[in-house]
Structures are given as structure tokens and as C-alpha cells.
């Protein structure tokens, strides 16, 4: 399936349960919200009650965490079926998941486990991506994950791996600049090398998030404010790349909503004025 580029729709926030009521009450200046797809694999109740109202006012993007596209187990079609039903109900602008594996057979780690950067993994992912996209009848955007180890088996760098996957499938990526930063620190490479190596047309979305620094290594906890270095990487990338859909991702240790809005406004302040699609001033 050929992937078409998504238009620039601005700056989004991750939609999390604790903010539902405040969003409806205050109608914040957010261009779009990203939901965690699996949180809506339920029949009803609060999640759908609030999403139905929020999606009347904001475009929605779907981001999955459990597809396990890199797994060598058989493709989980019952998962894909739930995803498809949710897609039909939400009508998202686009959908994404992670370039990783999470489950194997009956075991689910609920973590985003890295793939080895090998020829074998490339052909495996190429095949799986085609099957998934055919089944869903739409492109699937893949996010780079943070990693804490390098495999002996890897034959290329992560950015070479992503670029080659794009060459073979035309798939697009959701680049999480924090994840790149985390992996760069843990594996001692320059994050700019990664960011500059991915073909421009292969990038569909950006995630910005925070992490926890343990000195010897850092962990992608998504529970802290975005660090200065990640902001700088984003600023440089944005200047070079031009308008790109960008989102602040917070998954834990939720601050008051206005703090996330301040981060979103900071992201807006780092890009040229010409990016603006809504005049929120």
C-alpha cells in the first residue's frame, strides 16, 4: 500500500483520562489529540462518553502500543479486528504504532522491545507491514522506540534500518525525538546523526516527551517535562524540515493541564510563524 503524506494539522497533545473534563470545559487551543488506541477497545463507559464529545471539536489521531508488528508469532488478527472497529468508530486522521515487538506466542511483555537491525528483521517487517496495512486498508505509521541495549546480531544502525524499511515499503515514521535522545545517550551516538539520516518524506509526525536520567543511562519514562536538549533537537529539526505534525506525549505523573499547554506553546514558539494553521493569539 502506498503511503500518502499527511497534511500539516499543527500541534497535538496526548489525550489522557485525567484531562477529559478539563478539555471539555475549557476547550484548550490544541490542534488535535492523539489517543492510545487500545484504551478504546472497550464497549462503552467514560472513555467513549468523553471521546465522543472531544472528537466533535478536535481531530483525533490513533496511536497503538500493542500491535507487536515485529513479533515472529503469527499476526494477531483478533487484535487487528479490534483496531479496525475502533478506527471505524473514531475516524482518525492517521494511525500509528511502534517499530518493535511486544508479544511472543501467549506472552505479552507490554513493553516496546527493540528489533535487531538485520536483513532478516527488515524482510520480516516488510512482509508484516504489508499484511497489516492491507487488512486495515490504510497506512500504518511506525514510531522509533527507546532502547537500552544493542544486539550482537545488528548489521546496521537504527537510522539505516529505518531508512531501508522506508525504501522497501514507503512506510512513514513517527519520530519520537525524546526516544532518539534516550537511545543516543544509552548507545553513545549523536542524536542529530539519526534525525538527519531519515529521508524527509518518511517522517509523518513528531513526539516530544520527557525521560528519567539515572546518570549511567536514561529511561524513556514519559513522566517528566521535556529536557532542553530535546527542545533544541526539535528546534533544529523543525527549521530544516518545515511544517511537521508535532505532539507532546505525557504518560505518567500527570501535571496540571496548563503545564502541558505551556509545553505545547513552547513547541509552537520554536518554529517559524509561517507554520501556524490556527491563529490562537
Amino acid at each position: 500500500m502506498s503511503n500518502t503524506s499527511h497534511p500539516f494539522v499543527g500541534f497535538g497533545l496526548g489525550l489522557r483520562t485525567c484531562y477529559f473534563e478539563e478539555i471539555l470545559a475549557t476547550q484548550p487551543k490544541v490542534d488535535w489529540f492523539e489517543i492510545i488506541s487500545e484504551n478504546y477497545f472497550v464497549d462503552g463507559g467514560k472513555p467513549w462518553h468523553y471521546l465522543a464529545q472531544i472528537k466533535e471539536q478536535y481531530p483525533i489521531v490513533m496511536h497503538g502500543v500493542s500491535m507487536s508488528i515485529g513479533s515472529t508469532s503469527e499476526i494477531n488478527f483478533s487484535y487487528l479486528d479490534s483496531l479496525k472497529k475502533t478506527i471505524n468508530r473514531v475516524d482518525p486522521l492517521w494511525i500509528s504504532d511502534h517499530l518493535c515487538f511486544s508479544s511472543l506466542g501467549d506472552f505479552n511483555s507490554h513493553d516496546l522491545l527493540p528489533m535487531p537491525y538485520t536483513e532478516e528483521a527488515l524482510s520480516h517487517l516488510t512482509e508484516r507491514l504489508n499484511i497489516v496495512q492491507d487488512y486495515l486498508q490504510r497506512p500504518l505509521i511506525l514510531e522509533n522506540v527507546s532502547s537500552y541495549l544493542t544486539y550482537q546480531a545488528s548489521q546496521m544502525s537504527e537510522w539505516e534500518f529505518l531508512s531501508e524499511l522506508h525504501n522497501r515499503t514507503q512506510c512513514q515514521f513517527l519520530l519520537d525525538i525524546n526516544n532518539i535522545y534516550v537511545s543516543a545517550r544509552n548507545h553513545d551516538f549523536a542524536p542529530e546523526t539519526f534525525l538527519n539520516a531519515i529521508p524527509e518524506k518518511a517522517i509523518a509526525q513528531i513526539h516530544l516527551a520527557g525521560h528519567s536520567d539515572f546518570g549511567s543511562h536514561i529511561i524513556d519514562t514519559h513522566d517528566q517535562p521535556i529536557c532542553d536538549h530535546v527542545w533544541q533537537l526539535f528546534k533544529d529539526f523543525a527549521k530544516k524540515r518545515g511544517p511537521i505534525n508535532t505532539m507532546i506525549e505525557r504518560d505518567d505523573n500527570f501535571p496540571p493541564f496548563k503545564e502541558l499547554m505551556a509545553e505545547l506553546d513552547h513547541a509552537r514558539s520554536l518554529v517559524p510563524k509561517s507554520w501556524s494553521i490556527h491563529d490562537f493569539t
Partner: protein, 265 residues
Amino acid sequence: MTSLEQLQQDFVNMLNHGSMDFENHIAAQEGALAPTQRAEIYQNAYRIRLTKVLEQDHEMLGLYLGDELFDEMVKGYLARFPSSAPSLREFGDRLPQFLSEHQPFSEHGILKEIALFERLLLKAFDAGDSKTLQFAQLQSIEQANWPNIQFQLHESVYLLTCQFSAVESWQALKSDQSPPSPDIQSPHHWIIAREPDKRTGFYALSTCHYHCLTSMQNGLPFGFVCEAAAQYAESEEQGTMQVMELLQKGIELGWFKSDIRVQQA
């Protein structure tokens, strides 16, 4: 097995069983972390993530058990029932079973009941949203059809019978009080359901109302529900009154689906 399959299998065995064959796949890198420590980051993350799910889903059970026993429970549960579903919300589904089958938890029947009660609260939270029965609908039922009417319980309704003071203990812990003695004279019946404002509520049920609701759940029409009620009331008339009282309360609280059926004789 291909090398990718082997790598993934070893990774999973490391997380699930602590098997360190996986370390052979990790490249030695410059810097502060050895391969073992790199593997441990994933092991810790796995354990912490799933522990957190059980802590969040079973907050009062955690208070009832105390930290040490709760940790022992989590360890045992992870070993016995590792997560298999893509969604974390299903991870704890077999916790009541685990508590009833494993020492020392199985010696205290109340633990399984508290866990089950907490699971049902979670299930009610995001159950289906079908429309609820309204009073006006009752008025449109023809007199002659009443005995054959089948009322259906809403998807968010769960019934629970406890042999111990599980729900009372949950309530006490929730309001920072010490739980009562686990023993009770006779079983206590409960209904758990999502209320019209989408909050999850629960109510004590009389034995009569509990049996009315289970007979509705089993698809029995109104006439049979009244007969069931009569067994727990002083007279047939009293039984019917009990059912009417239950209908009134249940309509107010959204316990029934708006979709009512007339069973053809």
C-alpha cells in the same frame, strides 16, 4: 528456528523466567552498563509495569494485604499467569482464581472476594452503553403482556454474592477505617453497575432482589420473576411488590436495558 525467532524467544524467556541465555545476544558496549545490566533494565521495567497495574486495579486489596503480602501475591501471580492479552486491563482477570488456589491467600476466602469485587468494578466501568429502561416504557406495556415481559440487565450490571465481609471491608479501607471481621452470618448479595452519570456504583441487595435479578439474567419473564420473589417474601402479593420496588430502583439507577421483549406463549 530462525535467528530472529531465537532472539525473541530468549528475550521473552528472560522476562518471563529470568533465563539469562538472552545476555548472549547483547553486544558489549563502551560506557557504564554491562550487558547484564542492560537486560535487567527490561526485566525491571516488565515487573514494575505489571505490578503497577495490579496496584492500580486492586488498591483496597493492597491495603488489606499490606505491602509484603501484596508483593508476594504479585510475584506468584506473574509466575502463574503472565500477561497474554494485548490490553493491560485484562491482566488481573485471573487474580481471584490465583488467590483462591494459592497459599497463604487461599486460607482467607475474603481475599478472593475483594479481588473479584474490584475486577467487577473495572468491568462495569467500560462495559457497553446500550440505552437504559425508562418509566414511560412500562406504561406502554399492555396489562395482559406483563407476565411475559423479559427485562434484561444492562451490560454494566454484575451480581456478586459474598461469603465474607469483602465489600464492607473494601468500603472501610476506602474511607481509611479498619475493616470489620471477615465472617458474616449469611451470604451478602451485591449489585455493581454504572450509573447514569457514568460513575460505577454498587448496592447491597436483599436475598429476594438478588434472586429476582438472577432470574432476569437467566431470561425468565416477569411472571416467573414474581414467582421467584414469592419464595423469599411472605406472600405472592408481597413478592410482586418486591419486584415492582426493584424495577423502580433499577430504572432510576440504569440497571435494565431499554430493550424489553415479550416472550411469546
